[in-house]
Amino acid sequence: MNKDSFVRQIPLITLLALGAAIALATDRFLTPLNLTNVLVQASVITVVAMGMTFVILGGGFDLSVGSTVALSGCVAAAAMMKAGIAAGVAAGVGVGALVGLVNGLVVTVLGVNPFIATLGSMVMVRGIVYLFTGSEQVPLDGTLPKPFLDFGVERFLGVHYLVWLPAVLLVALSWVLAKTPYGRGVYATGGGREAAFLSGIHVDRVITSTYVWCGALSGVAGVMLASRLQSGQPTAGEFYELTAIAAVVLGGTALQGGEGKLYKTVIGVFIMVVLGNGMNLLNVSSYWQRVAVGLVIIAAAAADQLRHRR
């Protein structure tokens, strides 16, 4: 293995080393219950992080994912109470895609810097969630339909539905990115807008579409979370954007765009989730947990800089 391919495997090696260290520190880590928990705990944020990867591959940035998760969850729950599960899920994912579309248009048509544009929508969407729900959980009285709640707890072939969903999405979306002209267009746009434009790619459309993907996936995550929490929570999704971006960076995808893979982001997510899980099992104080997570994010970003210095 030469130096370059070793560097590329650092995320996976980090995850394995972290897992080994925690397993040595506590025998509770490798129990089936805990490993199942870790998978489920990672499931929602994995979907969000995959959406974030789309945007970053295209050269953009999306800070509004957390707020979108909350909005989608609450809208889905509300719609579900009135019109059934299918309507609820469609509404949740749809509203997420809509937020993504608005983000994409603000970035491409109005030309606003993605960081600022999605910072604005992050704050605005959170406000909309509170307006929509009156700051209370959805539904306030009563429960969501049983099949929907069951989705959040039941398993298929021993694995939770909540874990199957991101796994299926990972395979399907990786195929889209790797094997379709659209996917190649995303990489090309992120790698160099000018060149992509000159080679005939509708750069603005591609960029907007990455935001729509991100919003729709945040919508899916919001619906998943509503199932897991058995309600739409207006406070949901807090700090998701930071975790998602950290996961992308930890996984080795460049923040400038143009290169990276979805499975790498998933490794990054697991690094974050395993770290948090390990610290909880060892009852590390909350204060130290925050210091640790912050350090990991900075270290990952620094490594990203060193790795991709051109």
Binding site: Y130, S135, Q233
Partner: protein, 305 residues
């Protein structure tokens, strides 16, 4: 002739205006730490209800746990001419500037729920935080037969209210040889956090017998974790706030105990205390609102219809 007519007109206007001036509407200002917490939503309902009965106008400012915003909001209220202020300070010391501003304007500023260290705090309408913690701990010890491991899902770090309740709880737990605290984490007052931390606490300590949750949202999240670990009925969960989802949790058996702080009555009491103060009544520094422990035995009496 003209001058006399003018004098009469002015006199009439003054006389007509006099009663209106005498009955000038009292406007008070209210500053709460959050808009999205069921406890504060209910507190606000109490304040609004009582203020309406008294014919008062209420100005609200929103802070969203932003201390600077709370200070600015209080200063704005003073500038708008409120006669008194009800405030639940985000932090015991960081918003003292708000109390100073009120004192400079010679306005009463009464803390409701959370309290401040400021010497300019007129009064504090409070719950007996430490005692609540002690009561919850004693109830827990009774419920689990005096022995076992406990996980603490504490409130946000830096909140004196939650710290005081926790201190009361841990004080009683420490005195009890059979009980041991094996998990202690601060965090947000959210269901998601309760679910995740409870999951991890149960993995680390499969023989856990009790979970202390800083509020009902956390408790409900924890109850889901307990249920999916197949331990419903084996792990006793306590919450706080007594908001409707929490009370329903007690009814369903998901939560063992919550504490009804009765935020609506609390809000009304805050208004009454301010009204009394403005009339010149004297109060002790701390006016306590009674808290009510709610478990399966008495939940039916407090469940909203």
């Amino acid at each position: 002739m003209k001058r006399i007519a003018t004098l009469i007109a002015v006199a009439v206007v003054l006389l007509a205006g006099a009663p209106a001036i005498a009955q000038q509407k009292i406007t008070v200002g209210v500053s709460l730490p959050q808009d999205d917490n069921p406890f504060y939503i209910a507190l606000r309902r109490g304040i609004d209800g009582r203020a309406k009965e008294l014919g008062w106008d209420v100005i609200y400012v929103s802070s969203q746990e932003d201390k600077q915003k709370q200070i600015n909001g209080v200063q704005d209220m003073i500038a708008r001419g409120v006669k008194g202020i009800l405030i639940s300070p985000i932090d015991a010391t960081a918003v003292n500037a708000a109390y100073d501003a009120a004192a400079a304007a010679k306005l009463p500023i009464i803390s409701v729920a959370r309290a401040s260290t400021s010497p300019n705090q007129t009064l504090h309408v409070a719950m007996d935080e430490k005692q609540i913690g002690r009561d919850v701990a004693n109830w827990t010890i009774n419920a689990v037969g005096g022995k076992g491991k406990v996980a603490l899902l504490a409130g946000p770090a830096g909140s004196p209210t939650f710290k005081n309740v926790l201190d009361g709880y841990t004080e009683v737990m420490a005195k009890n040889r059979g009980m041991s605290v094996v998990f202690n984490q601060f965090g947000a007052l959210s269901r998601e956090r309760g679910l995740k931390q409870a999951e991890d606490a149960l993995v680390a300590n499969p023989d856990l017998v009790a979970i202390y949750a800083a509020n009902d949202d956390i408790a409900l999240g924890a109850s889901q974790a307990v249920a999916s670990a197949g331990k419903k009925g084996k792990v006793v969960i306590t919450g706080m706030n007594g908001v409707p989802p929490g009370l329903r949790g007690v009814k369903d058996g998901a939560i063992g105990l919550t504490v009804e702080l009765n935020p609506v009555t609390w809000g009304r009491l805050g208004v009454d205390v301010l009204a009394g103060y403005l009339k010149g009544e004297k109060y002790k520094q701390q006016v306590f609102i009674k808290h009510v422990l709610v478990d399966a035995k008495n939940v039916d009496t407090v469940l909203p219809k």
